[in-house]
Amino acid sequence: MKFASYASAAVLLVAGALVATGAQAQSRDTIQIAGSSTVLPFASIVAEEFGNAFPEYNTPVVGSGGSSGGLRQFCEGVGESTIDIANASRRIRASEIEACAEAGVKDIREIRIGYDGIVFAADASKADFALEPVHVYKAIAAEVPVDGEMVANPYTNWNEIDASLPDQAISLAIPASNHGTREVFEEKVVLPGCEEAGLPEMDEDAMEASCLTFRQDVVVEIAGDYTETLARLQSNADTIGVFGLSFYDQNRDTLKVATVSGVTPSLETVASGEYPVSRPLFFYVKGEHIGVIPGIEDYVAFFLSDAIAGNGGTLEDAGMIPAPDAEREAVMAAFDEGKAIMASDL
């Protein structure tokens, strides 16, 4: 009995103490980041280096959830239980800026950090692919034009689309719509391919909808990260996956990359603009949290510094394509001025 009462007293004490710390914790002193899984490795590396270089700040915490997931969390409001920075592999949308403004987040600072290529890669044991956007379109669209009429996609093997492609069953693993990569994939590959394929006359909206309606039988949408895409490739070696250039770079031993429009993706071809499927990477800073959560300004400046995001910097080693110096300086200047992004800027 004595034991029981001591034990319960101790347990109640601990419980009370926990609740007390909960009530007391007023100021978060660690930067909280979430969003794009493409930006995640870069942001994590910077966060770690930041923690090492600035002993007075804690190492920022970097979560994932995809560009859309991160921006949704970002737009939940102002306060310590909301994140300070959202990583995105696409630009913020006007609808998201509105949602943010409604929740009280009005001072959104846009930071463009560099560029990333999107690559098509197959299992290393497979034949080489020299893809054109139109091939990809014809492989994944639900309906394709045949002799000027839209018919259900008849293609089962790549060589039926174009004789130059290998005789291999069509199977594609593409990012699901929670990923910013999906938007770039649609805009830079599928839509140009669709245009080239020459759809019959129809109004613009119907055209876009038709271009972006994918068949369900051979296209797998991956909501998770690139390792999930890789697992798809391992379970079905015919699958062609859509990856970020940096992910491909770390797994060159198991993956074989396809050329797009005759250009092999690499740091150089993406930086020069030769490789067509590239996109800028961003993060968005909640202006309302600057000065409340310590270290945000230093984090931004550190991220954009030459040693990190510049040519030959840490992030280039990790696979990000650096932005030209002038562009980074302009981004930094806009941040310092406190220029918030508006829906009208988009």
Partner: protein
């Protein structure tokens, strides 16, 4: 049987017939029993086989990750590279805050020195004839080596101009190359390391400079992305520990109190029946639902911080509560009613009866339920993903309010790391650590139960 009693005239014949029938029946019954036993043994063998395959695979993959390529190099703290003023000393009359600010400034200046040059020089000295590029030399060791040197210097600025031998961790790619986890016959453009670094690694391994050392840092370091070779589980471990403390502190008192009330005091009516049904249902609710609930209530409504073990612990408490309530109620029901009647008959009040006589008998049951509930909570991942605990956290949380991850979430994160060649083994190693903890918890449950049961 009825035949023999019904017609005694044909007794001998039917008795023999009977025996034959029984013998036949007996053989069939024996056969049935043998088949059933055989099936049982086969089922156990299959189950054990699966467990053996699972454990075998994990251990086979994960065990090598506990040993990592490590080397010792002579590091010269070159005064020409490390630009540093003398370390500030606290002046008389200087406030501690000012002194700390000055010290931070000094540390920042030290950090900004080109430590990579210091590291590269010490690597080059290991193979002076190879004339390595700085990049090739740096690839050999993990990138956190430069912070290790910086920390050594900050600790002891007298190192300037001295040469000390420092143990360095090989980089993840070096480790992968030396362990043969990447196909060594692949062409240069598909390898992660440059040809020069691969040659250097092979040569140093042959000379015994690079050796395979036990990776204690898996237990002492936090997660790392910029230096994957030094990634460890310390942050996730402490995060899990805090969560389990929260779970024990909340789930045990609430669970035991509700069980005692429902079992010993509550009137039996519609309402208590309804509560009982709901508790049983709660035990079957998928854990992800508790995660959604936690995100909506604790984070959005109560504004508790994201990624905090406190919130994680509260969510897991919801999940553990039904387990503890149900187990406590069944052990209360197992206490013989005569005990209660005797206590009541001697004039003890209801409360005295329960707390002096009934509850102490249920301790082994409550304890087992708690430990099993905690072990279950320890391995839970899904609800934690929804409250922001699947983040990259490079700190050891100091309090349950700080951001942290948990062990199973760390496994999930490593599983998704883009450096597959290195992290595949690391993931299995983390699984081994988690399984080890689970086995220890379950062993503790069994040990305590037998001990307490013996004492009674």
């Amino acid at each position: 049987m009825t035949d023999t009693t019904a017609s005694p005239g044909t007794g001998t014949v039917s008795a023999e017939e009977n025996r034959a029938r029984i013998r036949k029946g007996l053989a069939r019954r024996h056969r049935q029993e043998a088949i059933f036993r055989g099936m049982g043994v086969a089922a156990i063998a299959a189950a054990l086989g699966f467990v053996a395959i699972l454990f075998g695979m994990i251990i086979f993959k994960g065990a090598p990750a506990f040993w990592q390529a490590t080397l010792t190099a002579e590091v010269y703290f070159d005064p020409e590279v490390i630009e540093s003023d003398p370390r500030p000393v606290q002046q008389e009359g200087q406030s501690p805050a000012d002194y700390r600010a000055e010290l931070l400034r000094w540390e920042r200046a030290v950090t900004l020195s080109n430590w990579n040059a210091v590291v590269a020089d010490s690597i080059r000295k290991l193979a002076p004839d190879m004339e390595l590029e700085r990049k090739d030399a740096l690839e050999l060791v993990t990138s956190s080596v430069r912070y290790k040197l910086r920390d050594m210097f900050v600790e002891n600025p007298d190192l300037l101009g001295q040469t000390v031998s420092v143990s360095m961790l090989g980089s993840a790619n070096t480790d992968v190359w030396l362990k043969g986890n990447i196909d060594r016959s692949l062409a240069d453009d598909r390898q992660q390391l440059s040809a020069a670094t691969r040659e250097l690694a092979d040569r140093l391994a042959e000379e015994g400079v690079i050796r395979s050392a036990f990776a204690w840092h898996i237990f002492t370091n936090v997660d790392s992305r910029s230096a994957p070779a030094s990634a460890g589980l310390a942050g996730a471990f402490v995060g899990s520990l805090y969560m389990m403390l929260v779970v024990i502190a909340l789930a045990v008192p609430i669970g035991v109190a509700s069980a005692v009330y429902l079992e010993e005091f509550a009137p039996k009516n519609r309402l208590t029946d309804l509560i009982e049904v709901n508790i049983n249902n709660l035990a079957a609710v998928p854990s992800i639902v508790f995660g959604l609930l936690g995100a909506a209530v604790f984070i959005n409504y109560f504004k508790l911080p994201l990624s905090a073990p406190l919130v994680g612990g509260m969510v897991l408490t919801l999940m553990t509560l039904p387990t503890i309530i149900i187990a406590t109620r069944s052990s209360l029901r197992a206490v013989p009613p005569s005990l209660r009647q005797a206590a009541l008959g001697l004039g003890a009040s209801q409360t005295q009866t329960v707390f002096h006589h009934v509850l102490p008998l249920t301790f082994p049951g409550i304890l087992t339920a708690t430990i099993i509930g905690v072990a279950q909570a320890l391995g839970e991942t899904a609800p934690l993903l929804l409250i922001g605990m699947n983040a990259f956290v490079a700190n050891v949380p100091a309090t349950p309010m700080d951001q942290a991850t948990a062990l199973p979430v760390q496994i999930y994160l490593w599983q998704g790391n883009e450096n597959r060649n290195f992290f595949e083994a690391r993931t299995s190693a983390a699984i081994m650590v988690l399984l080890g903890l689970m086995i220890m918890l379950n062993a503790l449950a069994i040990f305590l139960r037998t001990r307490l049961e013996k004492r009674q």
